[in-house]
């Protein structure tokens, strides 16, 4: 077993194996993880964080691969966090995003890490945010987080990114109607991928119209870019728009506000998970079980039972 000090030293020297080991210990919440994150935190804050989300099969990984190559043309270092769902039944996951990232496979300026959701919603955002911090501290100039966008957890992750790209395809059509409430609201830039397919123009127009209806928010109206990621078409335009959004946020002071909001959310999330951990210790869990028996026996109501547990905590 390597010591934390040794690992951190190798990390500081730019050892990618050490970076990878630190990501693992953070992701697994090994005992040293709070200490490691605290020691790395002063090095964070330099990386620009981009989120890429959209329905399954929209071509997110291919698009991310293209964006990474575009960023590498400027000689900047990139970290990619590719998130895929865990099975709620077995806890296993098949992480296949690397299949679409062959072109960046052995570039020493790129570090790709696949993460499974591990059944948590808000918790995933916390873990992915921590991993982004680790990559930031390692010196990556840009960190891209890729998530499947259908539920709630990607919203939290999007909040932790400074620019969120929502990827849709011509076939998304009706799906957009259902998703726009959540997904479209978080978009800073929209990519219509597989734009060589039928219906691309129509969906681009519809999306544009929908955005115009919504109007500007904080002085930014999300641009709609057509891309064919598999051929590299439109990647440069997409990157230019991300860059434009970055400059806009920096100059308007929104980036600072965004970061502040992020810190607040992070502190709250940590407090909440610690409270959860502290409340459900051995004593309260055994109390819970005996109280449940009493509820089942008709002696108490669930509300009375919880009051009992809460009084235990207050009385500590």
């Amino acid at each position: 077993m390597v010591s934390t000090d040794d690992l951190l030293k190798r990390f500081t020297d730019g050892d990618r194996t050490a970076l990878s080991k630190i990501i693992t210990l953070v992701e697994n919440h090994e005992s040293s993880f709070p200490d490691v994150l605290d020691r790395l935190y002063p090095r964070t804050g330099k990386a620009y964080r981009i989120g890429v989300t959209g329905p399954p099969g929209a071509g997110k990984s291919t698009l991310v691969s293209g964006l990474v190559q575009r960023v590498r043309a400027d000689d900047k270092l990139v970290g990619v966090i590719a998130v895929d769902p865990s099975s709620p039944f077995t806890g296993g996951a098949l992480l296949g995003d690397r299949i679409r990232m062959q072109d960046i496979g052995i570039d020493p300026g790129v570090f790709v890490r696949s993460m499974a959701t591990r059944g948590s919603l808000g918790g995933l955002a916390e873990a992915a945010g921590d991993v982004a911090d680790v990559m930031d501290a390692f010196g990556q100039d840009i960190v891209i987080t890729e998530t499947v966008g259908v539920g709630q957890c990607e919203l939290d992750i999007a909040e932790a990114c400074y620019t969120t790209v929502v990827v849709i395809v011509p076939e998304s059509g009706d799906a957009i109607q259902a998703m726009k409430a959540g997904l479209m609201e978080i978009a800073d830039v929209i990519a219509i991928n597989k734009a060589d397919r039928e219906g691309a123009d129509r969906i681009a127009r519809q999306t544009q119209a929908m955005l115009e209806l919504r109007g500007e928010r904080n002085g930014w109206s999300p641009p709609v870019i057509c891309t064919i990621a598999s051929q590299g078409d439109g990647i440069s335009d997409l990157f230019d728009q991300i860059e434009k959004h970055r400059v806009f946020q920096t100059e308007s002071g929104l980036l600072k506000k965004h970061r502040r909001g992020n810190v607040e959310a992070t502190v709250k999330a940590i407090v909440e998970s610690e409270i959860h951990r502290k409340v459900w210790g051995e004593r309260s869990l055994s109390k819970l079980h005996s109280l449940v028996d009493e509820v089942m026996g008709g002696k108490r109501t669930p509300r009375q039972a919880s009051a009992e547990i809460l009084s235990m905590i207050d009385g500590r």
């Binding site: 990878s20 697994n28 296993g92 098949l94 296949g96 052995i106």
Partner: protein, 134 residues
């Protein structure tokens, strides 16, 4: 929290048949593991880079082209060179009986040929990883 076993399933070399690799990847997932699949046509450098970035516990190599005698030792050597020689490296595909002993000598922990059940593989991986983390 129970530590998740992470596995890289890789297809080094030039053959384009990944049905077997996908079946094994799915079986490992269904056994509760996190499986990263690389896709086809990987060079040893690509496999090793992916194994390091993903910090997997296990590297599973599938090959049907006959290039195992060259590619497998190279992958094992590169892993050691990069300080990742502690990973469990296993293999499957079309590998002649005569070559298995040679591969084991260079550091392939086990070779699973045609006819292996998926349960044999998942049980083997679980057992090996459990004995290592003790």
């Amino acid at each position: 929290m129970e530590r998740k076993i992470r596995v890289l399933v890789a297809k080094p070399g030039l053959d384009g048949h990944d049905r077997g690799a996908k079946v094994v990847a799915s079986a490992l997932r269904d056994a509760g593991m996190e499986v990263v699949y690389t896709g086809l046509h990987q060079t040893p450098e690509m496999v090793v880079e992916a194994a390091i970035q993903e910090d997997v516990d296990v590297v599973g190599l599938s090959i049907l082209s006959g290039a195992h005698a060259v590619l497998f030792p190279k992958i094992v050597d590169l892993l050691k060179e990069r300080g990742a020689g502690d990973k469990l490296v296993i293999a499957g595909g079309i590998i002649p009986e005569d070559d298995v002993e040679e591969l084991k000598k260079v550091g392939i922990a086990n070779v699973f040929g045609p006819g292996t059940t998926t349960t044999e593989i998942t049980e083997y991986v679980k057992k090996e990883i459990a004995s290592r983390s003790k």
